[in-house]
């Protein structure tokens, strides 16, 4: 049986609606305009603080009025259930990716925002690094991918976008955003082939396949005429990824 909501909650709902959408949802009776406006300002500034900090490039390319309009419609329209402040930027990315938004914006904005968010996400990602040998053989051993990492497959060259560069042509771009051993966030642009190797590593290393097995399986999938050539090429790619700390070494099993 549904009990009617207590009347104090009617006030809370009305006030919350008004604070999210001050121009359309009426101010609850008994709340003076000046005081409601103070709340509206405090709450919206608070949200904008989290967004401004995470998305400096998106903000700069959109310009202040459009950026604030998107911040406002996000706060007004997007359900926010997470209690963690660090998740507010992630929710903003999801909003840009999936919500119906009236504000006109560049086709690449949601990819740019995801790229900017990735820096924050990787910086604070909670990960446990399994035991590994940093110098281990990456062909005979099982390569260990850096777990504090996000692989981004973008249709646009998001890493170059800024107030001075707004691409009109899509250009497939693969990026790895990761935290190195000194806990700094680094960005690396990789080739499509390296990206598909990373995807396979991600999938197969959990099944304890060696680097060589993974490369041979990749050669097989590509119907490569000379699998050993691909293995030799792959060894160099794996070593390069280790150099960058995208691969941490070989797993100690």
């Amino acid at each position: 049986m549904n009990q009617p909501a207590p009347d104090f909650q009617d006030f809370q709902r009305a006030f919350a609606h008004h604070l999210r959408d001050p121009h359309h949802a009426p101010r609850p009776p008994g709340i003076p305009a000046r005081r409601a406006a103070i709340y509206g300002e405090l709450l919206f500034n608070n949200i904008c603080g989290f967004l401004d900090k995470c998305f400096p490039v998106s903000r700069a390319v959109l310009g202040e009025p459009r950026w604030r309009r998107l911040n406002r419609t996000f706060y007004r329209d997007w359900p926010l259930h997470t209690p963690w402040f660090r998740d507010i930027p992630r929710e903003f990315v999801r909003y840009l990716e999936t919500a119906e938004i009236a504000t006109p914006r560049p086709a690449w904005l949601s990819e740019l925002a995801r790229y900017e968010w990735a820096e924050l996400a990787v910086d604070i990602m909670e990960t446990a690094i399994p035991e590994h040998d940093p110098q281990g053989d990456l062909l005979r051993g099982v390569p260990l991918l850096n777990p504090a990492r996000l692989d981004l497959a973008c249709a646009w060259p998001v890493q170059r976008i800024g107030p001075d560069y707004r691409p009109r042509q899509a250009q497939a771009t693969h990026l790895v955003v990761y935290r190195d051993r000194s806990e700094c966030v680094r960005f690396s642009e990789i080739s499509p082939v390296t990206a598909s190797l990373l995807a396979r590593l991600e999938e197969k290393c959990r099944a304890s396949a060696s680097g060589e097995e993974i490369l041979l399986a990749l050669a097989d999938a590509l119907h490569h005429p000379a699998p050993q050539t691909l293995v030799d090429f792959g060894r160099a790619v794996l070593e390069d990824l280790r150099q960058q700390e995208i691969i941490l070494g070989s797993q100690t099993l």
């Binding site: 104090f8 809370q12 709340i31 608070n46 209690p83 990960t127």
Partner: protein
């Protein structure tokens, strides 16, 4: 899991902006730090390592922001379980939250005043009890600052707080800046209000600075130095509760260098030292 380290003396809100200076040495007067779990729990990388380096050597207090004790949506039990784990990880023994709400079905991420009605009282007491059951400890509830008085009040705020503390069997987290700000914005006597609170249940005290708008409205920003009337109110509070309740300086915006904050923490230590040691018992 760290052994519990209860806070005592004077403390400071732990901010990323201060870590560099604090790594060079924690000033003598700072006996503990305070963190918001919503900013620090479940983080990896540098943040986690730096927090741990401090929590291994200093007591920390867990001061929540997002629990929405008076809110509409079901109490966030996942958040509470994560807070319990976080407190264990850092040896924290004290958790406090605001007597406020910050979400209907969706988060607003700021503190709003609870209507002072009997139904709201019961609602909030039940949620505090639920929170205490999940955390396995008594929590402190903080008297919040507010800028509008919700309609439907059936009692004074001090009575609301007193009954909540009694009915939920929880503790009082006293914020003297919030009392000052509210007393200015709503024209009541701060000391009278203070004296109407269940001070014998005080587990923790906040002191902070605030902002004054052109029309005189005080905004609880934690972005300025503590002003003399708030120091005076803190002194009065310590005369009532004694000098052995931990007191924390909050500073969240316009953060000055550590030296300036240290001077304010030293002021807290002086006020605590001048207060009677025996806590006043409930009448």
């Amino acid at each position: 899991m760290q052994a519990g380290r209860p806070p005592r003396g004077a403390g400071l809100g732990f901010r990323r902006e201060l870590i560099g200076e604090l790594q060079a040495g924690v000033p003598e007067c700072i006996s503990f730090f305070e963190v918001a779990p919503e900013n620090w729990a479940g983080m990896g990388g540098r943040s986690a390592r730096e927090l741990r380096a401090f929590s291994e050597r200093h007591p920390f207090v867990c001061h929540g922001l997002s629990l929405s004790l008076g809110g509409i949506a079901p109490l966030d039990t996942a958040l509470l379980r994560r807070i319990r784990q976080f407190m264990g990880e850092h040896g924290m023994t004290l958790y406090t939250e605001h007597l406020s709400w910050c979400a209907d079905d969706s988060q607003l991420y700021d503190l709003l005043p609870i209507p002072l009605s009997k139904k709201a009282l019961k609602w909030t007491v039940d949620r505090i009890s639920q929170a205490q059951d999940i955390l396995g400890l008594r929590i402190g509830i903080e008297n919040a600052s507010y800028y509008a008085a919700p309609p439907g009040a059936e009692m004074a705020e001090s009575e609301f707080i007193t009954r909540i503390v009694h009915d939920a069997d929880c503790l009082l987290h006293l914020d003297v800046n919030n009392i000052h700000v509210n007393s200015r914005n709503f024209g009541f006597d701060a000391v009278e209000f203070l004296d109407a609170l269940p001070l014998d249940r005080t587990c923790y005290v906040h002191v902070a600075g605030h902002w004054v708008e052109a029309d005189g409205l005080c905004i609880d920003t934690h972005g300025a130095d503590v002003i003399d009337p708030v120091w005076q109110l803190l002194t009065t509070a310590c005369e009532r509760i004694g000098g052995d309740v931990p007191i924390c300086l909050e500073r969240d915006f316009n953060i000055p260098d550590l030296q300036a904050l240290t001077a304010e923490v030293e002021q807290i230590v002086r006020i605590q030292a001048a207060a009677p040691n025996a806590r006043r018992k409930a009448a």
